[in-house]
């Protein structure tokens, strides 16, 4: 059984949603982000999205944009992130790892070369923010050849008929965006989102993970009732950019993840 399948099936058995954490790699620097990821995993993250910074992150809100800008200014690039990913995948063989970026970064590295490399270092898949169903073939092919999942997105704006097509073609899990807009912490409308997630779940053979705007245990708790996975990014990065020295921020991040991990458990 492939690793993502195993993770989601184990979560189902434990009656909880999978906790998926996005990390801006290279923020505030490569070494610190490796420590942050390690902290997230030890505090209960099931899957890590390794965010590769791009100069023009058109789908991101201010928190991740700022982190990307700083990461790039420190010389972060895809080869360095792949080196880190290789170390992490060896140290945490039970954890799922998804490479997360914009198409230009992946295309520039070479899609076939990249997929070969990801397989070799033991990553589980790729998510390209700006790669809708219509454009996915060029990346889906090398992913398939290397046993990697290409994670697809759906949004509240996606008509059901289109969502069905996306989900029928999906691999690993489907990333359901909670709101129309960019990434970031905000007020969510829980009822609408729950309803949307329920419809998606009825129509999908792969797990549905919900992301965008989740900033605390309460929000995670509500979504976990329906979603198979809960994705947290900006809230994690925001804490990493908070007050105090980096060890203090890591401690705060550990508390956040621990709280999230507790709250993805469904109440009986």
């Amino acid at each position: 059984m492939d690793k993502l399948k195993k993770i989601f099936s184990q979560c189902r058995q434990e009656n909880r949603a999978a906790l998926i954490i996005f990390c801006s790699c290279g923020y505030p620097d490569m070494e610190s982000s490796e420590r942050a990821i390690e902290t997230a995993i030890k505090a209960g993250a099931d899957i890590i999205e390794l965010g590769v910074p791009f100069s023009d992150p058109m789908a991101d809100g201010s928190v991740i944009r700022k982190a990307s800008e700083i990461a790039i200014s420190k010389g972060t690039n895809l080869p360095k992130i792949l080196d880190m990913a290789e170390r992490l995948a060896i140290r945490f063989p039970e954890t799922g790892f998804i490479l997360f970026s914009y198409m230009n970064i992946l295309y520039h590295y070479g899609l076939t070369k990249l997929c070969g490399k990801l397989k070799k270092i033991g990553l589980d898949g790729i998510l390209a923010v700006d790669l809708p169903l219509e454009e996915k073939a060029e990346l889906a092919q090398p992913c398939k050849e290397n046993g990697l999942h290409l994670v697809a997105l759906v949004s509240p704006a996606t008509p059901l008929e289109r969502a069905r097509k996306i989900m029928a073609d999906a691999s690993g899990f489907v990333y359901s965006v909670n709101v129309c807009g960019v990434t970031g912490v905000r007020d969510l409308h829980p009822e609408e989102i729950s309803q949307h997630l329920a419809v998606l779940k009825e129509n999908s053979a792969v797990p549905i993970a919900a992301g965008f705007g989740i900033n605390d245990g309460q929000a995670a708790q509500r979504l976990s009732r329906i979603a198979d996975g809960v994705i947290v990014g900006s809230a994690f990065i925001k804490i990493l950019s908070g007050a105090g020295d980096f060890s203090q921020r890591l401690e705060a991040a550990r508390e956040l993840i621990t709280d999230l991990a507790k709250n993805v458990r469904r109440q009986p």
């Binding site: 791009f54 100069s55 023009d56 992150p57 058109m58 789908a59 944009r65 800008e69 790039i72 690039n77 895809l78 914009y102 198409m103 230009n104 970064i105 295309y107 520039h108 590295y109 923010v129 700006d130 790669l131 809708p132 169903l133 219509e134 454009e135 697809a152 997105l153 759906v154 949004s155 509240p156 704006a157 996606t158 008509p159 289109r162 996306i166 965006v177 129309c180 807009g181 960019v182």
Partner: protein, 389 residues
Amino acid sequence: MNTHYGIYGGQYVAETLMPALAELEQAYLEAKQDPEFHKEYQTLLKNYVGRESPLYFAKRLSQALGGASIYLKREDLNHTGAHKINNTIGQALLAKRMGKTRLIAETGAGMHGVATATVAALLGMECEVFMGTLDVQRQSVNVERMKTLGAKVNPVNEGSATLKDAMNEALRDWTARFSDTFYLIGTVAGPYPYPMLVRDFQSVIGEEARRQCLDQTGRLPDQVIACVGGGSNAMGIFAGFFDDPEVQLVGVEAGGKGLDSGEHAASICGGKVGILHGCKTYLLQNADGQIIDTYSVSAGLDYPGVGPEHSFMADHGKAHYVTVNDDEAISAFDLLARYEGIIPALESAHALAFAIRIAKDYPATTTLLVNLSGRGDKDMDTVRKFKQL
């Protein structure tokens, strides 16, 4: 519909925008079939923009150079001073038809922002323009023009704080508000259907120029020359000659301080294929695939990408792409002012400079048709500063 030009183009956007692009495509294809839509568009082009724009034989300049005959397509005489208005009127009419009440746009030098603010006023729509903070400082007159026209200017202080960042911010705004908002893109880039939409609305330039050239010279031009930043004025004039393989199409990119200096904005001549702002095309990027800052004395050419159809035409030899550096463009700017009494936009001066470069290699029977895409009033300060250096 085919959303690509060979390997280029496409719809590389977040899933949230896909329904918005589908809605736009459908509305445009319907409008295209509607004679009423065409009538309204043509009437505004005539009575509001002042079309058709003249084709003018630059006789004194041509004689002074002692070679080919240079003809100028006078888009600088349009209302608001450039070709941009052809596109903003078309898209704004489409927006109105779709029931949208708010127009957003990105702008670099401010010309597209002004043209968008103009049509928003004309059609009674709300308008917000995104503009990099660096450009807000450099182009303060255009910022005032937009405000006078009733638009809100949103300074974007991210990345390089220029056009590409303004476009990122406009896309983000659109992602969150497409139900009431129409994103009016100013060039033949962005996700499909924008490259097609903008080309179609700009193709009036080429249609007129072809007919005018036949009327005045009795034959087609030998070369059609236009500057290429994103490439909308070039695609507009090229479109008139797609069925004339004997006419050579030449796109002139901004060479800045020279291709070797690394300080330029020549995406086709000096870039690599990549994906930005929704399309696959030639881009200026570094060894890590990050988009790099561009440079040109002409703010309107200062964009790290280019319309995907240009990338396709370059690869397939359907058009030829060259560069002109800052200094050569400034010389062309001066020459046209002195010999013809026309002050061209620095963007257009790039196209003219290439015509001036090659004119002497041809006899007077050879016709070089240059798209004079805009007027140069906005550039007086830039030119003065350039000469002081």
